[in-house]
């Protein structure tokens, strides 16, 4: 590896190797099952998630995903639907996103739509339909606390941050449930970390990239400057990890320790947070 490598995704060839390894292992355990056309297409594209999505159908059969996987992936899909439509509408809104920032939001938009496609493919016939959203957080009234979300850029960015930070905590909270299903777990984690990249970018953008609290890329304590989002950050001030009080084993200050560990949310906590946005 060159320390001056300028190539994004320089490690991506490894992905195809990994996918091939997974395919071959999956074949071994599915006793002669042949890879579907979608698996091979995914591999040709060098896209692990596409291959994995097809694999999950191959492995479990249409409509026969384990209940826990079905539940977690549909939960994730609900959040990705929310995010994808939010950015689709935001990017389409006239005079909302300044030209200088469009690349940021079209990038996130593309990713969220790709996540929706991945989850829908993985779930197959089990995929639940897209809900109807109210991005003002008004439960369908259209007059919620973020009433100007698509006309006021500051509101749009604030809601984006809340969605991204919630998404990170949501995927994180489901990882233990997916633990027995290694390929699904890994695919979910490759989305989880992308949501964290989004979150950091939006947070820093909101602070005009000055990287000063509370607009750093990371979450300090349980702090939020966005009214009505306390639940999104509740518990982020935790410093106990695996029974260790991290403040006692390092010289790093408590504040930075809280930044060093993102905390999970339960499915119920996440659904309560997004409920006002769903009609």
């Amino acid at each position: 590896m060159s320390d001056s490598s300028n190539t994004p995704g320089a490690l991506s060839p490894v992905d195809s190797d990994m996918a091939a390894r997974i395919v071959s292992r999956r074949h071994a355990i599915t006793r002669g099952a042949t890879a579907s056309g979608m698996v091979m297409a995914g591999l040709r594209l060098g896209s692990v998630p596409a291959a994995l999505a097809a694999l999950s159908s191959d492995a479990f059969g249409q409509g026969r995903l384990p209940t826990v996987v079905n539940g977690v992936l549909n939960f994730a899909l609900r959040l990705e639907y929310l995010e994808a439509e939010f950015y689709n509408r935001g990017v389409a809104a006239a005079n909302l996103i300044p030209a200088a920032d469009r690349a940021i939001f079209t990038t996130i938009q593309a990713h969220e739509n790709a996540h929706v496609e991945f989850l829908r493919t993985a779930l197959g016939a089990s995929a639940r339909p897209k809900p109807t959203f109210d991005f003002t957080a008004g439960n369908g009234s259209g007059t919620g606390p973020f009433a100007d979300v698509f006309t006021n850029y500051a509101t749009f960015m604030a809601v984006a941050q809340a969605f991204e930070d919630t998404g990170v905590r949501a995927y994180k909270g489901q990882a233990p449930s997916l633990q027995p299903y290694k390929d699904i777990l890994q695919a979910a984690l490759t989305i989880h970390s992308v949501e964290a990249r989004h979150a950091a970018e939006v947070r820093r953008l909101r602070g005009n990239f000055m990287d000063q609290e509370p607009n750093e890329g990371w979450v300090t304590n349980a702090t939020t400057d966005i009214p009505g989002t306390a639940a999104v950050y509740a518990g982020e001030d935790n410093v106990m990890q695996l029974g260790i009080d991290v403040t006692t084993v390092t010289t790093v200050s408590r504040k930075e320790i809280t930044e060093s560990f993102d905390e999970p949310l339960t499915m119920a906590e996440v659904l309560a947070i997004v409920d006002p946005f769903i009609v």
Binding site: S4, A175, P176, V194, R197, G217, D262
Partner: protein
């Protein structure tokens, strides 16, 4: 607590923060004591840092500090994370203590790099404490290819390390057997991803570079270690992955 439930109590926590980073000589001395303790317990262990009751150690370290990490054990996987956090922490400590730091980086960039330094040090110290006596010794960074007085050299290396860290956690998570270990790995990987995003943005502000793909990589430990090897004097080998 330590991560190695089978570790004899006599070889658990080595001490406070000062002792979390023992020199190799200190490590070998403590490891020797551990070997003696295991022999006394009738386990027959005869290699440094071989804590397994039947030779199924998570981490075996030779006299030169080269480590073999067994991914069929959580101790092996967590030592892999510890190794990468050691590398990252050492890198950012070198970045922020370089004489040129305050002149080559703008104020906001300095804040990012100082924060990331703190986070990586916290990660390193956490793993050291959690692994206790089951941890591998201090690794020796090799940063001769990095020009710490050059903004671009530092940021491009940082980008490589952060992307590598994200892909490493994403790829290693499947090998963890305990849910709480998976949970803490998840708490850390998203912070690494936040770092990657911020560093990438310092290199290409207000572009889509902060997240170049919709799905991050999940790399095998072999691929990650091949990439990290030029920056670490000791050789780290992963088995059973």
């Amino acid at each position: 607590m330590t991560l190695n439930d089978s570790a004899p109590t006599t070889s658990r926590q080595l001490g406070g923060p000062e002792e979390l980073s023992p020199s190799r000589r200190d490590f070998l001395r403590s490891a020797g004591l551990t070997g003696a303790a295991l022999a006394l317990a009738g386990c027959g262990a005869n290699r440094e840092n071989d804590f397994g009751p039947t030779g199924l150690a998570g981490a075996v370290v030779d006299a030169n500090g080269n480590a073999t990490l067994d991914f069929s054990t959580d101790v092996g996987v967590l030592n892999y994370a510890y190794a990468l956090e050691q590398l990252e922490a050492a890198f950012y400590v070198s970045v922020v203590t370089n004489a040129a730091f305050s002149s080559i980086f703008a104020a906001n960039e300095q804040r990012v790099l100082q924060d990331v330094r703190d986070h990586e040090v916290a990660h390193r110290d956490f793993f050291a404490a959690a692994l206790g006596a089951a941890r591998i010794p201090n690794l020796t960074p090799v940063f001769t290819s990095i020009n710490f007085a050059n903004r671009l050299s530092v940021l491009q290396t940082a980008r490589v390390f952060e992307d590598l860290g994200v892909s490493a956690y994403n790829g290693a998570a499947r090998y963890l057997s305990r849910a709480d270990y998976l949970g803490v790995a998840g708490k850390i990987v998203s912070v690494e991803a936040r770092h990657a995003s911020a560093i990438r943005d310092l290199l290409a502000n207000r572009t889509g570079e902060f997240a170049p793909t919709a799905f991050d990589a999940a790399n095998t430990p072999q691929a990650v270690l091949t990439a990290a090897d030029p920056f670490i004097l000791e050789v780290i080998t992963v088995i059973n992955a």
